[in-house]
């Protein structure tokens, strides 16, 4: 499984804007490159990142071949309740990775 680093504030006040960051190790092979012998290197990219906050989807991003290796996505959401922030990346060749972090909202 791929290595991922996520940053979620451990505690926050209700109504605060949270900045979340998700970094994952992935080659993001575009599918446009060729080997020395001219054969096309098959595409191998992450297609989607979904972030759920206590099971409710708060962010979704579609990835495309022009995105660099080891993509870092940063976005914001509003702190509503204590619980779990879960990130799920899915992609080509049945790629799938999940990472989660708890958050306490006061």
């Amino acid at each position: 499984m791929a290595r991922a680093i996520i940053q979620v504030p451990a505690r926050a006040k209700r109504g605060d804007i949270l900045e979340l960051r998700a970094l994952i190790g992935h080659v993001m092979e575009t599918g446009f490159r060729r080997t020395e012998s001219g054969a096309l290197v098959p595409r191998d990219i992450i297609r989607q990142l979904v972030c759920t906050y206590n099971g409710i989807e708060v962010f979704r991003a579609d990835f495309h071949p022009a995105i660099a290796a080891n993509p870092l996505i940063s976005f914001t959401t509003v702190a509503t309740e204590s619980g779990k922030m879960e990130f799920r990346w899915t992609g080509d060749n049945d790629f799938s990775a999940t990472e989660s972090a708890p958050i306490t909202v006061e």
Binding site: R3, I5, I6, Q7, R21, L23, I24, G25, M28, A68, A69, N70, L72, S74
Partner: protein
Amino acid sequence: MQNDDATNPAMLWVLDGEALWGRRTGAADKACADCHQGMQGVAARYPALHSEKLVNLDQRINLCRTEQQKAPALQLESRELLALSAYIGRQSRGLPIDIAESEQAKPFLDSGRAAFNRRQGQLNLSCTQCHVGLAGNKLAGNPIPQAHPTGYPIYRLEWQGLGSLQRRLRNCMIGVRAEPYAYGSPEFVELEYYLMWRARGMKLETPAVRP
């Protein structure tokens, strides 16, 4: 980005290195962590002499693998080796580079300095001409640095991955259209040694992020 562990992509390698550090391997069935405690300050002292030979950190890791762990040496520039050296280097972040000068090491330092000053390649350029004479100017829109290797192994955006100082040096040598030395060759290690000596006192920022 570089100083924030949540956004520095090289941290992916550091975490891999941490896992490798604790994993038992080789005929001796020993992990790095079985012998070594913290490695703080170690990366700031390399390249260094090891039984009268000059070795860089990557080669030193491989020596430990073959001699202590009885495991096959890792290939230079392999993901595992870069992960281990990034993990070790990370522990020296913020510490000044501390290259010891000695009578024994002087020939290596001199030959590294000579390589730095030697004109080479079809463009007939020496390292000094750009990295001392023209430092601070631009080359193809990018600033020319003073060639202080303070953050290796680095995550280079151009590589979309982690690479060693030797990989970066190859890049410069190809740029002046010279034949690059082989990975791990004494010439490369001497040049690395001279560059680290030249940057002594500067703070290590491993793993650095560079364009």
